[in-house]
């Protein structure tokens, strides 16, 4: 069997031809002088696989980040858009199985949560390099919401890029009194049939909505923190499915079907078919308004009983052939300037992952002076009632439970 896999790998190499894996050897880079790494990366390319569903994010990546890489380092940035991060995980996994250990096609992945767990579980992540990046000084690794990714210790295997917290969007011209808690939302759905729905898990945003209901059914998140507990799950899950199943006949299309992606929910909201959309990244609301998809009367908020927040990261696969260029890109991603640019509402408006206490004063002043978008709830306001994410095993169990008990 091993022979056939070696054969398949050899065939694969024959077909694609050898590609120079200049900086595939990660050990040689760790602790290396930064200027040396830049010289090793110069003139090369970096293949970044990331969710591609937002034109504004794509523009920031391709034009702003890609422009700096090209102008200052002569590095070509190839942005590869994904509809789901797991697609990139599958590529690396397939390459590892075929024995491609230093000539992989993925140099960087925008990642967190379950996909990070998969990469760590299958030993596909390159680790131990953060200290090599000069801008690592801007990262507060003592903050548990940065040092653990959905309960899995980061351990130098990925670098934080953004922080995000779930929020709900509504059109203030259509809905005067939006529900302020999960309990109120449940009542609101009963009173307003056909006006609410959520994307079917495993969609990322649909899944986090279901977790809010799950926390509500558990009477708070505290008991659910920590490793997966089958007995506790068996106790809470039936209550959560009961709530969601009771909601179902009052959902859009009487709950006979659910949107399959957040994009579909956003379209339903834009077309006034439903009264709410929501997102793990509230800056998306501002972008939708700015691009004319949503009316300017859109406002957003977090539930009074809290909404779930997380940090998302970038990760370099073990078999990336362009590790030096990937490091240069990662260092750029967490630079104060790039994080400031990304925080501008018209560019992306997302919450920085760096410690603002550590950035130079003049950039700090610019951060403080950033205008906020009227459609985007301020991160500080959201942060007043923030809920932690669960460990990945919990999330997988809840998603599977939803599919089996509610979705079918």
């Amino acid at each position: 069997m091993a022979k056939s896999i070696r054969l398949a790998a050899a065939l694969g190499l024959m077909l694609t031809g050898p590609v120079a894996g200049d900086t595939a050897d990660g050990d040689a880079l760790i602790g290396q002088d930064w200027d040396t790494i830049i010289e090793m990366a110069r003139g090369g390319e970096v293949n970044w696989f990331l969710w591609g569903g937002s034109d504004t994010i794509n523009q920031y990546v391709s034009e702003y980040l890609g422009g700096i890489l090209e102008d200052e380092y002569g590095i070509t940035l190839n942005r590869v858009g994904l509809s789901d991060t797991v697609e990139a995980v599958n590529i690396v996994l397939g390459e590892a199985e075929a024995g491609v250990t230093e000539d992989g096609s993925v140099d960087l992945i925008w990642i967190n949560g379950e996909n990070f767990r998969t990469m760590v579980q299958a030993d596909l992540a390159w680790c131990g390099y953060p200290g090599t990046l000069p801008n690592n000084d801007l990262i507060d690794w003592d903050n548990p919401s940065i040092a653990t990714d959905f309960g899995v210790p980061v351990d130098g295997c990925e670098m934080p890029w953004n922080r995000a917290q779930f929020a709900i969007a509504y059109d203030s011209a259509r809905t005067e009194m939006p529900p302020r808690t999960i309990a109120e939302l449940i009542d609101w759905v009963d009173a307003n049939p056909g006006q609410f729905t959520y994307p079917a898990p495993p969609d990322f945003n649909g899944s986090v909505f279901v977790r809010h209901v799950f926390y509500h059914a558990a009477g708070g998140v505290d008991a659910l923190l920590g490793p997966f507990d089958q007995a506790l799950y068996d106790e809470v899950a039936p209550r959560a499915w009961e709530i969601l199943n009771a909601m179902e006949p009052h959902l859009w299309r009487e709950g006979q079907t659910y949107p399959t992606s957040i994009t579909q929910l956003d379209q339903l909201f834009a077309n006034s078919e439903v009264a709410f959309s929501f997102n793990y990244d509230p800056s998306q609301f501002g972008l939708a308004v700015e691009s004319g998809l949503w009316p300017e009367t859109v406002r957003s908020y977090g539930f009074a009983d809290g909404t779930i927040g997380n940090t998302n990261y970038t990760l370099i696969p073990f078999n990336s052939p362009n590790k030096a260029a990937a490091l240069v890109l990662q260092n750029l991603l967490i630079s104060a300037e790039a994080q400031l640019e990304k925080a501008r509402p018209e560019v992306w408006g997302t919450v920085p992952a760096i410690d603002l206490g550590a950035v130079p004063d003049e950039i700090r002043a610019e951060f403080d002076a950033l205008p906020s978008h009227p459609s985007v709830v301020a991160p500080e306001v959201l942060a007043e009632a923030a809920l932690p994410e669960l460990q990945a095993e919990w999330i997988a169990a809840i998603e599977q439970g939803w599919i089996e008990n509610v979705g079918r």
Partner: protein, 285 residues
């Protein structure tokens, strides 16, 4: 160079593509479907993935949906295509333009067609807006559900729209090759138009019709993108189910995804074979 070797050499590029890319991919998929993935510690081949899939109620609902989509689309598209070909083979004023319009959507990608269906037929699409303007409906929910619907109307509409010209062109080319002499002979011997069509023309165009509609059947049975865009969240068409298993965060679900893909290939092979055998017997080749 002897003729045999030369033929083989000339065929080699095509054989390499089929052998390495297609059969190779199929082989890896079979390996993975029996749970041979050393990287995540699965080294004992077994048929567990098939057993899990075949004992899952969702699999059968997905299978039924996929069969419904491809049989209905193929049937409707074939009937319309033969009808259109019968009309188009006659000479009439503006035939050139009509033929051009008939073939036009062959160049439109499936995905673009799906977006068109969405814009026209969704509950907030053009027809719903028209219905609202003339006072037929008050809100989107009152417009009949034609996309993301339990009967897969949107998916079938998209496939029929896209496949009619494909089957139509194949059948039309065949009709033009045959000419009108055989039917004329049948008519002069007293056959009515329907009889001439059913017993003379249809058996003659059958090879083309069979080949093109079998392609349409196999394609619509195995295609992912249209049911993914226009389908319900549950049940999902088989390819969508396979992809969901493939993108499951639990790596242990990968063998099931591969098993589903192998079953899709096997079922569509068996169906195409049965379809060709059955139609041959009923229409008489």
């Amino acid at each position: 160079m002897p003729g045999g070797a030369r033929t083989f050499l000339l065929l080699a590029p095509a054989l390499v593509v089929i052998g390495v890319l297609f059969l190779g991919g199929l082989g890896v998929a079979v390996l993975r479907s029996v749970g041979y993935m050393p990287l995540i510690g699965l080294t004992d081949p077994s048929l567990d993935a098939y057993a899990a899939l075949l004992s899952n109620r969702d699999f059968y609902r997905s299978l039924a949906l996929s069969l419904h989509i491809s049989i209905t689309s193929t049937l409707i598209a074939s009937v319309i295509a033969v009808g259109a070909a019968l009309l188009l083979r006659r000479g009439f004023a503006g035939r050139g333009i009509v033929s051009f319009l008939f073939q036009l959507n062959l160049t439109v990608p499936h995905l673009v067609g799906a977006i068109g269906i969405l814009y026209l037929f969704s509950q907030s699409g053009s027809f719903a807006r028209l219905g609202y303007q003339v006072g037929l409906i008050d809100q989107p929910g009152q417009f009949p559900a034609l996309v993301y619907d339990p009967f897969a109307v949107g998916i079938i509409l998209q496939y029929v729209w896209k496949e009619v010209p494909f089957i139509g062109l194949v059948v039309l080319a065949q009709m033009q090759g045959i000419g009108a002499d055989y039917e004329a002979a049948a008519r002069s011997l007293g056959a009515r138009p329907w009889q001439a069509f059913r017993h003379v023309l249809l058996p003659l165009i059958l090879p083309g019709l069979l080949a093109s509609s079998a392609i349409v059947f196999a394609f619509t049975f195995g295609a992912y993108e249209i049911p993914a865009l226009l389908g319900q969240s549950h049940p999902q068409a088989l390819p969508v189910l396979a992809y969901r298993l493939f993108t499951d965060v639990d790596l242990a679900a990968r063998p099931q995804a591969m098993a589903a893909s192998i079953l899709i290939a096997a079922i569509s092979g068996v169906m195409v074979w049965a379809y060709v055998a059955l139609t041959r017997r009923r229409v008489g080749g």
